[in-house]
Symmetry: C2
Subunit: 337 residues, 2 copies
Amino acid sequence: MTIKDIAKVCGVSVSTVSRVLNKHPDVSETVRRRVLQEVETQGYIPNNSARDLVRSRSDAIGVVVRGTGNLFFAEMLKTIGREIDRAGYTMVPRFIDSDADEVKAGAILEREKKLQGLIFLGGRFDYTPAELTLIGVPYVCCSYTNCFGSLEEKDYSSVSIDDHLTAYRATEHLIRCGHRRIAAVVPSCSDRSISELRYDGFRSALRDYGIAFDSNLLVETGGCFEMPETYEGVCRLLRCGVDFTALLTLSDTTAMAAMKALQDHGRSVPQDCSVIAIDGLNVSEYANPTLTTMVQPVEEMGRESVRILLDTMENGAPTEHLRLEAKLRAGQSVCDL
Amino acid sequence: MTIKDIAKVCGVSVSTVSRVLNKHPDVSETVRRRVLQEVETQGYIPNNSARDLVRSRSDAIGVVVRGTGNLFFAEMLKTIGREIDRAGYTMVPRFIDSDADEVKAGAILEREKKLQGLIFLGGRFDYTPAELTLIGVPYVCCSYTNCFGSLEEKDYSSVSIDDHLTAYRATEHLIRCGHRRIAAVVPSCSDRSISELRYDGFRSALRDYGIAFDSNLLVETGGCFEMPETYEGVCRLLRCGVDFTALLTLSDTTAMAAMKALQDHGRSVPQDCSVIAIDGLNVSEYANPTLTTMVQPVEEMGRESVRILLDTMENGAPTEHLRLEAKLRAGQSVCDL
DNA sequence: AACGTTACCGGAAACGTTTCCAGCTCTTTT
DNA sequence: AAAAGAGCTGGAAACGTTTCCGGTAACGTT
């Protein structure tokens, strides 16, 4: 079942059928209708390989996902997938680990498939600027403000919450609840990473409210928003015997790990220690206690990422850097002092 | 940069280069080496569209994911994606909702892309056998024993835990801990669904241990393993005032929702009520209390699903139905009576 | 010396589209 | 009435591969 069969049975040329299929204007209404009807009844589906070959492009958009521990990316991937489908493209995801070579392989391999665009989704990427310029297609960094620290803003697009502001607001919320001794668990990802931005927001809030920063209250963890590391980090903090009434974590899953550590040490949340987080996963509404968290607009982020990418791909639109707002969802993990 | 360029610079024909690239035997060692070296230095990458066109096939494997609430599928998708990548294929996932038409669209749309195989991942699919026979490629149902109830076993492959046995073992664990009044939350998915199998396992265990089944202890919920429905269901159960000391849930996330409902009603887990689940998500180790759950071998399931699919695709191997073992991971959500 | 075999290689068709170009028929303009 | 344009259509090249078929050269066998 090819375009030729349709052409033959309709008594027209393949060119004409092709024109109908591609919605070209210069074909008579009668012929158009005849062809479309035949396509319908025969159940003809164009051969994508042939189409891609002659157009020398594909309908594939790659999504590179890094940061396996964070369930937030799972939700993001789903919304991104839906949007890509809706736009008539094909999503091809690739999950990568921390392994340096596999990360690099990501960029290379994405080029083997004929991708039209790329979405980077995740905590951290180790690409060098040189490697990135090798990518000949537009790409957007989703949920990651400074995906590639050393890159020109005009060379890529990004969609994320305002990480600095979000952490600021979270901290502010704790402060307004009367907390002064606020600890923070910060994954020590790379420079200018998402965690650095959020950490800066945390510090800014403290400063603005005249609260001296106590470096003993800072827990740096390895990995990227991993639960085991977070659990361990909070345990260390507790062993230090330093005093604090609230804890800021940078994601929902790490918040759950942190709460677990607190609870395992006999501290109940929020009575003995409030915990606030960032993400707003569905599952966090069923944590015990329910998480108070800054909800990222997952749907909107996915939609906008794809929109921007498509706009650059199809219309050559300029790059864009979108900062969305995360909204506080009050749960039970924070209480007034 | 095409195969012709390589041929020209090597002084051979395109046929020869093609043969080298496809590891055909009849090409001399010297030529082979010369070509490979040129391919390397030039950084030549074959055009997949052209290759697919002439071979009239692609390297794409579709993964249809249904059941958005269940984080287990997110973990499965990741391992499946890794395996597909490793095998040199391209994964194209599609997330579908409960909407009947979108479900059907799944089958149809998967055929538009030239897919070589399909993996169904998720709680329930509404395809009719007639629709399924339209799928001209091999497919395997992953983590879902009776994906398509009314289908011949020889027509598809499947990989999952033994759902009946797993629920049996979970129930057995509760019984051995001294529990007699055991409630269960069962999503009312379709006939012969995953939840029916697990429910049967639950009933079998009760029977084998001589415990009369009390229908008041059964909570049927709408949706497929959704947290809100589960929460509501457990609330209903509690309002009934019926007595029970343990609760079986069929997934980790619903377990968390169930625990939340119990806790919100002043019952602490496990002191007032033990809770056991099935899945073994990472996050369940950080629930409060830590979940006691039957861990599904995610890695193995993903690996085997892809292996079986590839074996059928490439070698025409017969269909296979693999039942793996879920192992109990003791957490804190179950205690002796 | 003739033949068959083996190992290797090139030519060319084929895959199913899209798109450029040319041509045809009508209508409108000069 | 001729020229110009508009609207529609078909022919054919091109996209980059794979693979079938045939051919050559070298070599061993009779």
